[in-house]
Symmetry: D2
Subunit: 478 residues, 4 copies
């Protein structure tokens, strides 16, 4: 299932996951969680779940599918309670099995616990082995189970104490939302890889979510980012904060949240993502100018960057591709034979805006290099006299170990080909990537970001061979 979806998706990094938590005072937390997840749907379309607590017990509903498929009329009815957490999932290292769908719920000696998280621990295998060695049983290949079982066995009088105790043992990315019987606890790793923000509900209570857009969908005010290393406890109308770990000296926010993942209405690190993309486009125009007639975005994520590029370059902005809005959920694909006959499922062109023109095509990234070539060819077939490809980030030459499915070294085109070779490969008249320096300039930051996929300089040491142990666990799953 996954592989087919992947083959239909554009050549962008795969989405990660979205998490949220809602603590109302007397309200219908599950319904709010549903609407919040809806606004996080772009962060993972494979599975979704909501766990709710009413002060005594935790109830969960989760399944594979879109948020709107998992939660149908009536599904929310049994999820009664003031506190809810939710998750939308795109698989990373874990398998896509039903068992890995979050929130993960478990009974512990301190009562029931539900965990939803976004990110990836680089020492998960080692932690897993340690758990097994002390006699635990593991039912999934998901990091969430590792987090939950370590919490279950941790020392400390409260869940936030126990969380503070075990957090230092977790190396990697985790934006985490925990539901226990009587409160919600949100935490972010000290590097700050993945986003997580906090807002106040207009009716009292608070919400946390991967993106501020989801908080705004819930009508939140006073939205602020949860800090790297911070623990926030939501309980009734109150939100308490505790800096459990010092932020890492070298912060490691994921630059790709700005480039591709987050929805344009997200604010992160004090920046609006749409504006950040527009600036990436502006900076790209400065670094790789070219004389052309029209600036065309690859929809939808590159639109703001194309607007920015056009504004600086003086070339006209216009649409050149029409994207089928319904693509991405079919399991019937054109055969190779049909592709040769010209059956094009995803994009059509607008020759009126292309024919006889020199085109600048703006895209967010090139990962495997499988999409750019066909898009350049479509533009030429529509009559473009020149096609100049401009990318709003540097070449991706290294895998991500912190929760983004970039692919392996083998799969990354920038690991094999130079920029000139890549231009040749995709048939572009010219190809320009934004440099790391310009990219950071566009973001207005000198450091504090993880650019390992561009530079190979990982903020935490990683084992480059994943797999063996993972395979073993995947085998257990249905």
């Amino acid at each position: 299932m996954t592989s087919q979806i992947a083959s239909l998706d554009s050549d962008s990094p795969k989405e990660e996951c979205g998490v949220l938590g809602v603590s109302t005072s007397g309200g219908d937390s599950a319904r709010l969680a549903f609407f919040g997840l809806y606004a996080l749907q772009h962060r993972g379309q494979e599975a979704a779940g909501i766990a709710v607590a009413d002060g005594r017990a935790i109830r969960v509903h989760k399944d594979q599918g879109l948020v709107s498929q998992v939660f149908e009329s009536g599904t929310l009815d049994p999820l009664v309670g003031d506190m809810a957490i939710g998750h939308t999932r795109y698989s990373t290292t874990g398998s896509n099995s039903e068992r890995n769908v979050q929130p993960y719920v478990v009974e512990t000696m301190h009562g029931p616990l539900a965990v939803a998280h976004n990110g990836n621990l680089v020492n998960a295998d080692m932690l897993r082995v340690k758990l097994l060695e002390r006699g635990a049983g593991l039912q999934s290949s998901s990091d969430s189970e590792v987090l939950a079982l370590m919490l279950a066995a941790a020392e400390g009088p409260t869940w936030e104490d126990r969380l503070a105790t075990v957090m230092p043992r977790w190396a990697g990315a985790f934006s985490l939302v925990i539901l226990c019987g009587t409160k919600i606890i949100a935490a972010r790793d000290p590097w700050g890889f993945r986003p997580l923000s906090l807002g106040r509900l207009s009716t009292g209570g608070h919400a946390v979510a991967s993106e501020t857009g989801a908080l705004r969908t819930l009508g939140c005010e006073s939205i602020r980012e949860i800090k790297p290393g911070e623990i926030v406890v939501l309980q009734g109308p109150v939100a308490r904060s505790h800096q459990a770990m010092s932020p890492a000296i070298d912060g490691a926010r994921c630059t790709f949240e700005h480039i591709y993942f987050s929805r344009p209405d997200a604010n992160w690190d004090g920046m609006n993502v749409h504006k950040a993309r527009q600036r990436l486009g502006e900076e790209l125009a400065r670094e790789h100018p070219v004389d052309a007639d029209v600036v065309i975005p690859v929809p939808d994520s590159s639109m703001p960057a194309a607007i920015g590029y056009a504004a600086v370059s003086g070339s006209v902005y216009n649409e050149g591709f029409v994207k089928n809005r319904y693509i991405g959920r079919t399991f019937i694909e054109p055969t190779d034979e049909l592709r040769r006959q010209g059956v094009a499922l995803k994009f059509n062109t607008l020759p009126e805006n292309i024919d006889g023109r020199r085109v600048i095509m703006i895209d967010d990234s090139i990962v495997r290099g499988t999409t750019s070539g066909p898009l350049v060819r479509l533009l030429r077939e529509a009559g473009a006299t020149e096609v100049h490809v401009r990318i709003t980030c540097p070449p991706i030459a290294h895998p991500c170990f912190f929760g983004v499915d970039m692919g392996t070294y083998e799969e990354l085109i920038a690991h094999h080909l130079s920029v000139a070779e890549t231009a040749d490969h995709i048939g572009a008249d010219s190809l320009g990537y934004l440099s790391v320096e310009r990219m950071m300039k566009a973001l207005g930051r000198d450091d504090g970001y993880c650019n390992a996929c561009f530079t190979g300089s990982y903020p935490i040491p990683v084992q480059l061979q994943l797999g063996d142990n993972k395979q073993r666990f995947d085998g257990v799953l249905q």
Copy 2:
């Protein structure tokens, strides 16, 4: 089900239907039909179906749901044959019952017949009564059944003869695709209300479809419009044409195909739809100029018009709304209480592009007037100092009887309020509709279009009381 989808959709006219036909020489027509329907999905998301003929029998698969839901892995396997027709449905006067899902298939004295059509007959009730009076039984409230049963009883040696015989009795809009055992017949009403085009498949054979974008998705070449009153017969590698009826003197193409329905990559009446929308925006800037800082489209259909408006007005084009791409398929909605708390399911704003600015908001149309007000309010909450609403068509003051669900007189805001009152109602600083004259100027045409929803001047006399008889038939359905 329908009503809920409606309440989530924007205040645009409801989509109609999409039809297509594929005649291959030896190929897998069902798979091609599937990909073609995929590209017509925006014309109807409620049901889909494909009927296939292998020279002997007709097999059909159809159901309620999106194309990708109706056709899953394996569903196409039994649909073996060289010829296929397909349909995506949005209900018009018929009920949404399963029985009305097309293609409609029936055994006749001349062999099996499948019919798919887009449009609406204004004399359907009378035709239906005539059928009943000669002893027929009707199983649906769909016009397709009327068309099929009249064909079944028509005189003439071939299906195209029989079609030519009965066509003059059909008053209204019909873009029609018929599958019999050995050929596909496509026809368009003499007024030309709904689009229908023909193309040649690269491997031999031909295809017809409501929009040229779908033909291009199939890799078609030599695409041309089927003329009003024309019958085209596809058989093996051959396409034969026959002008069965003279085109009506007053052609009646639906202007709304340009304004809203068609995908931007469609060409119709010699025009590209994206370009047409851009021109509507340009003309709108000339008719209703206003001094402002930024031109913001209501996504997605108004983007080209906003680009056009910005180019002429000199104001900057930028995005101001973020639309949830996954909206429209959920049956869980915010309660009124949640709406009051600010839960906003469909749109978020980008305050960075709005705050402190005078905004021109471009939308394609105002039908019931339920969406514009909330959008204006969102812009103001995001800091807009002024909000000027510009609409790329005239006020819609009359219902459509030719296949577009505009709503009743009661529902149409322009039936009740003047432009100034409407501006007041939606809270805009100013409101400008494109006039009929300017609209036609943008399209480069003097006549040949149906503008009845704007002018009340219907190209065919219509009974203004639908309903009674319709109710009676709806009652039969599940």
Copy 3:
């Protein structure tokens, strides 16, 4: 799907269909119809449906599956009205397509009409051609559509008049229930092939059903058979009867209703079916006595006959087979390899009642001869020293054209083998069939029954080649 179910079923004639109608005065007719269908489930497990009228419109819900699968919680809610008809389906000559599921509902010039029927017309193909020739379209291969469309075009002021007009044109078996807006009409063919009875509901109103057991399940009193050729009209609290056609001189009740089809609690032709079977067993003991130790029924239908056989023969009655109650709804079957290994899905034996004993095995019928052999073998493996097979009807040597799926001449073992050869074929020490004379004696009747499957003497002339036209119509279906 069907073929697999068939292969799991015992070697008995396939069940036919069950029909019912409920006319309450103010009550919930759909719920009553549901419980009635439940009690008719044994007459057809492939599809079920209920149509309801409230005096104005007819609403229907029908689908493939068991009654309990087709009608789930909430499904009945929209079926509001005082009058309901229902149907459980086992396919006969029609295909198993969804389109053939009954009740068949159609709009006519006299208003909506729903039809459910049990039986088979032998002149259906001719009637179908006549309908097509007058320009009708047919959407199914079901006789119900033929009945309905003929009714729709018939002359006469009321539905019962129109029914009386067309009934004489229908040659074959029909126990028919018709729902129009304001009444229910039940009718039985003049030969009386299939059962149909009438009862009075304790709360006013009436019900008709294929079997009296279903009427008793509904709490009916004053239950009586509807006579061959009789039309009964249910309207509010009243039931009016009209002898539309004289009963055929040679009545043709289906003997197999007594032998196998009907549930033991049915009364038909003044006889209780359990008692009739017991008498068939008694008569069988008189016609084919054998000295043995134990009389063992093939469960479940042969139990009463075995009790009767044991009583007359003096041998002990006991159970020898255990039948898996859950068989019949799986699509996973043992491979031939597994069968060779002894995997036995349906029956296990009770060696304690068999080992070292001379066994008389009682079965209702031998059709294709595929089950008896394995059962005899199972008895021998369990230690039976002798196995004498006794069958409660004569050899089935001719197909049925009146609604029972006996199989073709090719398939019927009695068409190919003599009794001695059959005994040999199934490995029995002896084999005795009840003769036609003894069978009729057990039923206490001289004539009035159709025994064509035993004698080849059909009560209505039949064309022995079905198929050609049928194929043509099946091709239209999904």
Copy 4:
């Protein structure tokens, strides 16, 4: 869902669970497991599952529903391997949640492990608390998880060693089948509460199952019971046995397996269940004789006992009730109003065998006393002049804590009413229960059985308050 099924079921103790294991040498173990589960379906209709090992990994498929619903065409395909275990579930103390569906699969430090079990541990809550106290997390309320996590943490070089280590800590009933990567381990508690038998497959390899009938369905030979306290290891073609614990001095086989649970073709404790039931009937006739005309069983489980009673009493055996074979899977029930009108969903009578007769009605047990009354009333309505109820076991006055859902003290009618009062309550002319002594005489045993539900003398001390802790765990589940 459950409650409704319960209300439709007869007033017998609820079924328990069925387990099985299949070790083939090179064969398709999953398919065999499927057929075996099919033959154990009567032991639990709420959920089913199969786990398969191929020497490396374990794969599982499980879900709520009947075996034939959980496993459809294609479901077995991924379950590749030589070894399989399976489970059919009826919920006991655990909730009916999806999480409790077995087999339970977990990764441990010794590799993957799957567990299926039948029975109930009386010290499960204490064991659960101990697991939590050492930091474990529990995801279900099922004993299987407790068994598996204790095994995961146990000492010993092999799984059978670890099993032998922890078995003494388990107080209660467990017939257990364990699948690890390379072998199947079956074990039975030292009291021998629940059945478990071993057989040799005709193609090599072995199978274990709750009932011998399932082993015979698989074509097994050399079937023998697994002894209380015995561990059997299946590996390739070999079956190794190890008496891990001495059988308890007071064996505690569940008498109800003979009375009601097991299918008549099961052999247990050297006895055939059908024969045992026949003897219970014979003994009942001796203990509670009555002069009457006909002996009528409540179908289906009381048929053998009625045959036995009739043989000893000299009264005639005959059927008097017709049971709807399709009952039990619907969620639409008669309203009270409909019941008052006589709507009788489950049983109809055969007045021909009842009217004017003195009836002895044989039933297996009276638990809550809700079914006997209506059945007696049905017999009287059918004309019985006297109704004498005879029950093939003693009054059930105490709950079961070993895996049978008898209900609570509150619910048991024998806890509240004397035999005379019960007779009065159900409207019988006389009521006779088999005494414990006569029952054991019929079984030919003096001791070795658990009769606690009759006597209150529990073979293992039990806490009479279940519930608190259970509630807490149920709350965690969806």
